[in-house]
């Protein structure tokens, strides 16, 4: 491990940010109230409602989503052997958003949060499968990115079509737009249980994949000669990324660039080995997303969608990585 102290610092930031997220916000909630709620002691009903029912599940969900997106990004980059691969850039999030929007417009959300989550996963996996078909034939960066852009455009167009039909029914249009914008507001323990389950499953699959992903960095032929079952690795990888990106999009809307930025930071701290890279990406993603949520809650009265902040942060990183790659090629 290159810089364990930095990783420890990230963990400390995560814990401090988590505490701040429980104390800060509307209503008169003191540090003692938060401690009492967490220790199960008697507190005023309002403090309990704010801390236990609203802030804690919201903050833990932000942690879960950040970890899941960081993990999904690291797996995607490992699978495609490409530092620019990320669920958002490759159109995976757009596929999830499209499927979720169709489900919402059809009123399927009334059947429970799992329905939209499942649809979003299917949308994400469908996009990944198309990408994989392209990447097999020609894994060049330009092909991959262009294919991702094209798929994101198609998914975006279908989402717009859903919206344009839904606009005839104002309340449905608003529901879809609100969901697409993304938010952690009002998320409950039920949402957290969905996210945590997906993260647990995704994390287990990622741990199982880690050595195969390491071998894949040497090239598919070498990995195959080392005994890696490429077909199985890709299948499991696609399912894992689809599950993580799909559930994240279903729960909080499209949050782009976390899967791009976080693995780069993690690689700088722990190196390229996936045994360390994957947990480091999850930890950094969790801290970053919690800080983003704190920021969106603190900037005035306007409720900022978290996806806006991550794109504003991620775009410069994307451009820096792209220019570095161009310089390397030159």
């Amino acid at each position: 491990m290159k810089r364990p102290s930095t990783l420890l610092a990230v963990a400390v930031v995560l814990v401090v940010a988590l505490w701040c997220s429980l104390v800060l916000g509307p209503g008169d909630v003191q540090h003692g109230d938060v401690a009492a709620v967490l220790l199960g002691r008697e507190v005023p009903p309002l403090a309990r409602a704010l801390v236990w029912d609203l802030r804690l599940p919201r903050s833990l969900l932000a942690v879960t989503i950040g970890a899941a997106l960081g993990l999904a990004g690291a797996i995607t980059q490992g699978l495609f052997r490409n530092p620019l691969a990320e669920p958002g850039v490759l159109g995976v999030s757009s596929g999830a958003a499209m499927a979720g929007a169709i489900g919402l417009a059809a009123g399927l959300d009334a059947s429970g949060p799992w329905v939209i989550a499942g649809l979003a996963c299917l949308g994400a996996i469908a996009v990944l499968l198309v990408l994989m078909l392209w990447a097999r034939a020609d894994a060049r960066l330009s092909t991959l990115i262009l294919c991702g852009v094209a798929l994101a455009s198609v998914c975006g167009a279908i989402t717009t079509l859903v919206l344009s039909v839904g606009i005839e029914r104002w309340e449905i249009g608003m529901k879809v737009v609100r969901w697409l914008m993304g938010s952690f507001d009002g998320r409950s323990w039920v949402h957290l249980s969905v996210g945590a389950t997906a993260l647990g499953l995704g994390g287990a699959l990622a741990a199982w994949l880690r050595q195969d992903l390491d071998a894949l960095q040497l090239g598919p032929a070498t990995a195959s000669s080392l005994g890696v079952d490429l077909r199985r690795t890709w299948r499991v990888g696609i399912t894992t990324v689809g599950l993580l990106a799909g559930i994240c999009t279903a729960l909080t809307g499209v949050i782009g660039f976390v899967g791009l930025v976080v693995p780069h930071i993690a690689r700088g701290l722990v190196g390229t080995g996936h045994s360390r890279l994957l947990p480091a990406a999850a930890l950094i993603g969790a801290a970053l997303m919690l800080l983003v949520d704190l920021l969106t809650r603190s900037v005035g009265a306007v409720a900022l969608p978290p996806g806006v902040i991550t794109i504003l942060l991620g775009t410069p990183v994307f451009l820096v990585v792209l220019s570095r790659m161009r310089a390397e090629v030159a």
């Binding site: 916000g25 704010l50 529901k175 938010s183 507001d185 009002g186 409950s188 009265a301 306007v302």
Partner: protein
Amino acid sequence: MRFAGLVIGLLAVSGCPRPSAETPTTVRIASVTIDSDATLWALGEPVRGNVVAVSALVDDARYSPITNTWPASIPRVKGTSESLLALQPSVVFLAEWSDPAGRALLEQSNIEVVVLSGYGGFEDYRARVRSIAKAVDATPRGDAVIEAFDVSLRAARSNAGAGLSIVSYANGNVAAAGTTFADEAEAAGFVNLPSREGLEGHPGVSLEQLVAWQPAAIVIPCESDCAQTEAAFARRPGVEATPAAKQGRIIAIEGPLLFATGPRMVEVTRALTQRIEEAPR
């Protein structure tokens, strides 16, 4: 040649109405908003007889207060400049959010465009009725429509809310000062909490903020099963700790009525009064 023949052939068989060179001599009114549809109907004859188009949503019960009132022979238009121009209107009523390019095109065609603006409450409604009536030369009838509205409003006014705090919460937004709900709630004797907090319009507010306000009543929109919507909202984490949920004052009102900007605003005031009188003290 073949292409020219095709174009001529298409034009010959086309049933599309083409603008005539003649200038219409009578007043031809086109309404593209539900609000003006309803007001024009309320203005009675001879205004109704001069209407050549009403909005596409006029018969949609979810939004329109006057479904199946306008004769089916009057075209329903979606507001595109092309469909409007084909009807050769002399006056067109548009909403302030209508496409500026389409509006400019109508104005360039020497059509009087009346842009209806201000959807913030009772006084805005009165102003829009005056504006519509003036444009169709029916000012006295417009005054009568306003008087009828004021009579029903006076009858609906009450102090049932008794100064209790109330919030209208829909899709993460609240209705603050300068909204129809602020007037409706005040007319039923409530204090609109977001207005008291200094907010204006329909700002986004977190669920956490809503709970921290501890409103005595919360109004939400519903689609069909309003009782189920109320029960589901009252059970939401955090909300169940509000006085509104504890004292059975989560009030679901059908979305189209809750967001109505015309004479149906009085119905919201009546509904609030009725519900607060029914709620356990």
